[in-house]
Symmetry: C2
Subunit: 263 residues, 2 copies
Amino acid sequence: MDFSSIDKYAKSLIKEAGHRIRNSFVQDIQVETKADANDLVTNIDKEIEQFFIGRIKNDFPDHRIFGEEGFGDPVEDLSGIIWILDPIDGTMNFVHQKRNFAISLGIYQEGTGVLGYIYDVVNDDLYSAQQGKGAYLNDERLPDLTETAISEAMVGINSTWLTPNRYIDHEAVIQLIRDIRGARSYGAASLEIAYVASGRLDAYVSMRLSPWDIAGGLVIALETGAVASNFHGDSANLLQSDSFLIANPSIHPLLLDRYIKLK
Amino acid sequence: MDFSSIDKYAKSLIKEAGHRIRNSFVQDIQVETKADANDLVTNIDKEIEQFFIGRIKNDFPDHRIFGEEGFGDPVEDLSGIIWILDPIDGTMNFVHQKRNFAISLGIYQEGTGVLGYIYDVVNDDLYSAQQGKGAYLNDERLPDLTETAISEAMVGINSTWLTPNRYIDHEAVIQLIRDIRGARSYGAASLEIAYVASGRLDAYVSMRLSPWDIAGGLVIALETGAVASNFHGDSANLLQSDSFLIANPSIHPLLLDRYIKLK
C-alpha cells in the first residue's frame, strides 16, 4: 500500500473540505440536537461527511469509512483500511464561534494508525503525521516532547469533571487543578490532542470520546512521544466511546495513578 | 483632541509591537515568577511595555501610561489622558503555547474609555473600537449582540471557581455550568472579553482582574452592547484589581442575581 500517495490525497481532500466549510459561513446553518440539548449537529457536518465519503468510496472502493454522522460503514472490527472521520469536531464552537473546530481524520490499517490529520479550518493549520515519519504542523516538524513536572503542566479538561458526577472522583480532579500550572478548555477534543502533540498542553483528559474524536490525533501525538490510554490504562478505544487521557510521557503515569480515579 | 489620529497611531504601534513579539519566538525567552509560582513574567513582557512607553512619552508627553509591568506612571486617579496597557495578556499561554495571548490597550480621557484595542498577535486579529463609532475585528464591523438564553450560553470561566474557594459560592457556579450550553477557558482575559464583544462567548467571569486586563476590552465590548460590572454590580474598576463580569445584556442581570454569589 502506497501510504505516501494516500497522504497527499487525504491532505488535498481535507483542504477542499475546509474550503467548503469556510464557504458555509455565508449560508444559513441549520442546527439540530442529537443525544441531548447541547449535543449539536448541523447540515454542514452532514454535508462534509458525505463529501468525504463520496470521494473516498469512488477512489478507494475497498476502504471502509467510520464517520461521526453515520453516513459511512457499520464498523465492528478494524480489519483492512478504515478512514475514521469527524467532519467537524467541536460543532458547538462551529455554531457559536465560527472557529475553534477541526476536521479530524485517521487512516488505520488492521487497527494500526498509519496516517493522522487534524485541520484547524479557520486558522488554516494542518497537523499531520505518517506513522514513523514524524508529526508536522503545516510544513514544520513538531519536536519530540520534553520532560515536564506536574507543577508546571497545562492541562485541557472540561470543567464539568470538577463537579460531582457519576464517573470519576471530582475531589481528585480538584486536587489536580490545584497542583498544575493552569487548566484550559477549548471544546474541541481533536484540537486539544493536537495541542498535546505540539507541547502547548501537557495533557488532555476527557470522560467520554468517540473513535472519530481521537483517531487522527493519536497518530500525530504518538509521533512526538505522547502517551494515550483510557482511564484504566488500556489502549485508546477505536471501536466505541470511552474515557481518554493523553499526556506528556513524564506525567501520564502520575495523572492516572493520583488524579483520575474512576468510581 | 483628535482621537482619530491617535487611533491610527495606536494601531500602528500595536502592530509594530506584535511584530517584535513574533520575532521574540526565535530568541530564548527568560521566564520569572511574580506574586506566585504560576504568575509569570518574561523579558519580552518588559521589553514590549518599555517599547510602548518610550514611543508614547516621546509623541504624547502629556499623556500618562498605566502598565502591568510597572514601567509607566503611578496612577491613582483617571484625570487627563491615560493609556492603560498590558503588553502581553496571557503570559502563561505566551510561554507555554506561543499563542492565545494578546496586547491589550485602552485609552481613557477623564475616566471615559475613548479607544480600545485587543491584538491577538499570532492570529494577526486586531479588535478595536472608538467610543460611539462601533467595534471592529480587523476591517469588519462587529454586529450588535442579539438576545440569548442562559440555556444556550457559552461562558468563559476559569475552572478554579468551581472548586471551594474564599471568594464566591462555588455551588452556584456549578449550577451555572449545568444550566449553560458550554464553558470554555482560554487563559487570557482580554481575548475572552473580545470573544464576548464578538458574540463567540456570551459571558466571561473572573474573580480578580487588573485595570490593564480590561481597559481595552471594555471600550470594544460596550460598542456591541455588552454589559460589564464587578460582582456587586458596580462599574468595572480601572484603578485597582476587582472581580469582573462581562456579558450579553440579556443574561448579565441573571448571572449576577442567580449564579455569582460573593461570600
